[in-house]
């Protein structure tokens, strides 16, 4: 009983740690897609955030400067995306993909030239990493049967960015549905012509949304390389940007369901690590690859309308041209 509880808690703890960058990236995607800009470049922005955070943190031994650098990288790439798609009405999918390919090359290229460690940054010492929050009272609760383990596994010792993400999730919900900016953001993603008629700048709103996207993806990258990990390694996002996109669609572009989708995907990942090589009754060993592809299969099924209906913001993916 005690063991089962501990196992469940460890799984949930791992879920939270894996979910954090997913949540950040998916919510980043939510801001720009709700504003009508499709961004499949989440992956690239995250990777850039991860690299520049680790590079700056490694050079200055200051994780906060690293975080800032990661955010700056995310925002800069988001602005490139905006320049191509909003200012020049370029193809959003092509632009996002170009950014992914560019960063997949640029990060290791710069790492290779700057650190001479085969496309990685050096291992970060603990003072250069974004710290975990040690909550008080761990000792006091240690002896308490159920509460103690829950406190230790799920609450204590989480990275600061995990708590920040939690706050951001709530803030996002509030911004999208309760603030004037959120109303306009959603309007510009559904019917930009109406927003334009109301005297608001469609381009400006979309750029603002992309800034938020850049900040959040940069943070996601920072978490990967300086919070969860201790340095940048080649291709360290490993498709998390696309997974976040899948979660965003699975969550039907809404904060609550998207958070749930991220947690679900992260949970399958946490379970997957535990299930490797375990023989289950009846089914036998499930190959890891089948668990790994689960989120993608779920997303396809959802898009096919077999699991509810996914309706994207109406104007997403379409450049806004005045007076067509």
């Amino acid at each position: 009983m005690e063991d089962a509880l501990l196992l469940a808690l460890q799984l949930l703890g791992a879920t939270i740690r894996v979910a954090t960058p997913l949540v950040l990236a998916a919510f980043a995607g939510m801001f720009c897609e709700r504003a009508g800009v499709v961004d499949i470049g989440l992956e690239g922005k995250m990777l850039a955030g991860a690299f520049f955070s680790a590079a700056v943190a490694s050079a200055t031994l200051n994780p906060w400067l690293g975080l800032l650098a990661g955010i700056a990288a995310g925002v800069a790439l988001a602005m490139v995306h905006g320049f191509a798609c909003i200012t020049h009405n370029g193809n959003q999918v092509v632009s996002g993909m170009a950014i992914n390919i560019l960063v997949a090359g640029l990060a290791p290229t710069l790492a290779y030239a700057w650190f001479q460690q085969g496309g990685q940054t050096p291992l970060l010492p603990s003072q250069a990493r974004i710290p975990a929050v040690e909550l008080p009272g761990d000792d006091a609760l240690a002896g308490v049967p159920v509460l103690g383990p829950i406190y230790r596994e799920l609450f204590n010792g989480n990275n600061i960015l995990i708590w920040v993400t939690l706050v951001l999730v709530i803030a996002t919900h509030w911004v999208l549905y309760r603030s004037r900016f959120g109303l306009r953001l959603r309007a510009v993603g559904e019917n930009p012509a109406a927003v334009d008629t109301a005297g608001l700048s469609v381009a400006k709103l979309r750029y603002q949304a992309l800034i938020v996207t850049g900040v959040l993806t940069g943070m996601a990258g920072s978490y990967l390389s300086t919070g969860h990990g201790a340095g940048f390694v080649r291709d360290m996002t490993a498709g998390k940007g696309y997974l976040a996109l899948a979660a965003l669609i699975f969550g039907k572009w809404r904060p609550g369901p998207t958070l749930f989708a991220c947690l679900l995907f992260a949970f399958t990942d946490a379970v997957q690590v535990r299930l490797q090589g375990v023989v289950l009754p009846v089914i036998g060993v499930i190959p890891v690859q089948f668990i790994q592809m689960l989120p993608y299969v779920l997303t396809v099924l959802l898009l096919a309308g077999f699991v509810g209906k996914a309706i994207a913001p109406k104007a997403s993916g379409i450049p806004y041209v005045k007076e067509r």
Binding site: V38, I40, V80, F83, A84, C85, H88, N89, G90, N91, Q92, V93, V94, S95, M97, A98, I99, N100, I101, L102, V103, A104, G105, L106, P108, T109, L110, Y112, A113, G119, G239, Y242, L245, A246, I249, P287, Q289, F290, Q292, M293, Y296, V297, T299, V300, L303, A304, G305, A312, I318, P319
Partner: protein
């Protein structure tokens, strides 16, 4: 919808070659200038690096062989993306379709040990087409019948393909007793002959390189692509759906049917990458042999303006980048293979997403000249 911004039907004094040649070249120059900046940041001389890149890609016969080997795969994926574009679809799934195509070609080669290579080659071409098309069919069917956005579903199918292939190679097809996830090597008798061997039969000697007979098949595909699109009723229907779906419906053309046909052909073309890579070069099915060809195909199709001749030229450009860029790391200790991806990314960004970057300025330039000599303006082609 996806190809908006080409400015079709716009009356103007701007000659056609500006859109087809000048703007792409300007975009390319911009991409290379930025690549030069990256090289400068690394601490090398951009001019030296880029000229070495060209020499290593085109400077001697062996290098040209390698370049054309990369070009072969890029022609296949470029055509794959282009045919989908002509039907108004964006096929990002070339990567997964090529991966599955390689599986098809590989299974044929594994099964037919001892058969003459021409038979194996034909069957492998069919199998890779079948596997690639099958992998494209599901997203196509979902798009046509359920309205699922094909960009997202094909991205997801790339990941699903990668997982399935990893599973197959790790657990099922792996050579018994082997540690690395790959199949056994095919019998040398069924390999698709390399170009140096094939030309050797005619008494022509060229240096050995991975370039193989699938290059000729790629060129044949370009011709077939053109004939299909421009000379058959099916091609006409397909382009009509791409241009204006509602008009197509009024004309009695079924968009759903054409979406599926376009994606089947697209998947088959992407699948041919497997013939080049698996049957022609690797001679076994290995992990991740596609290495991004599906994505480069998008850039190739965009730069080539979805026309076979343009696609060959664009594929050649990306072949030069792949081969020349790959060689740089031997000369420069600070540069590794990934620099190629930087240049690729910038070329895609400028030639694809920002294709209209210089358009207003260039058009304004021509208009000013045009208004001075009105006669020139009257003879100007479509923009």
């Amino acid at each position: 919808m996806l190809l908006s911004g080409s400015g079709k039907g716009q009356p103007g004094a701007v000659p056609g070659w500006v859109g087809y040649a000048l703007l792409p070249v300007l975009n390319l120059v911009a991409a290379f200038v930025l690549s030069g900046l990256v090289i400068l940041v690394i601490g090398e001389n951009p001019v030296d690096v880029l000229s070495l890149l060209l020499t290593e890609a085109l400077g001697y016969p062996e290098a040209i062989g390698y370049t054309l080997y990369y070009t072969t795969s890029y022609i296949f994926t470029g055509l794959a993306v282009a045919i989908a574009f002509h039907c108004g679809l964006f096929n990002i799934g070339g990567e997964g379709q090529a991966y599955l195509g390689g599986l098809g070609a590989g299974l044929v080669a594994l099964a037919l040990t001892g058969w003459p290579w021409p038979v194996v080659a034909v069957l492998a071409i069919l199998a890779s087409a079948l596997f690639g098309a099958a992998w494209a069919f599901i997203p196509a069917w979902l798009q046509a019948k359920r309205g699922s956005h094909i960009v997202i579903t094909t991205i997801m199918f790339n990941f699903i393909a990668a997982s399935i292939m990893t599973w197959l190679l790790v657990d099922v097809l792996i050579r018994p007793g082997s540690q690395s996830p790959e199949t056994r090597e095919f019998d040398p008798g069924v390999w698709l002959p390399s170009m140096d061997r094939a030309l050797g039969w005619f008494g022509i000697t060229i240096p050995a390189s991975p370039l193989n007979l699938s290059f000729l098949w790629a060129l044949a595909c370009c011709v077939l692509f053109h004939l299909f699109l421009r000379r058959t009723r099916w091609g006409y229907e397909l382009r009509t759906v791409g241009r204006n779906e509602r008009a197509a419906v009024y004309a009695g053309i079924s968009p759903a049917r054409n979406i599926i046909i376009a994606m089947l052909i697209s998947g088959a073309l992407a699948g041919f990458v497997g013939v080049n890579e698996i049957l022609g070069v690797q001679h076994r099915v290995i992990l991740n042999f596609t290495g991004g060809v599906g994505f480069v195909g998008i850039a190739v199709a965009l730069m080539g303006r979805n026309h076979p001749v343009g696609i060959i030229l664009a594929a050649l450009l990306f072949g030069v980048l792949a081969q020349g860029g790959g060689q740089l790391s031997f000369e420069y200790p600070t540069i590794n293979r990934e620099l190629v991806m930087v240049i690729q990314g910038l070329v895609i960004l400028f030639a694809g997403a920002m294709e209209n970057l210089f358009k207003p300025q260039v058009e304004a330039l021509f208009r000013r000249r045009g208004s001075a000599t009105a006669a020139d303006a009257a003879t100007g082609g479509r923009s």
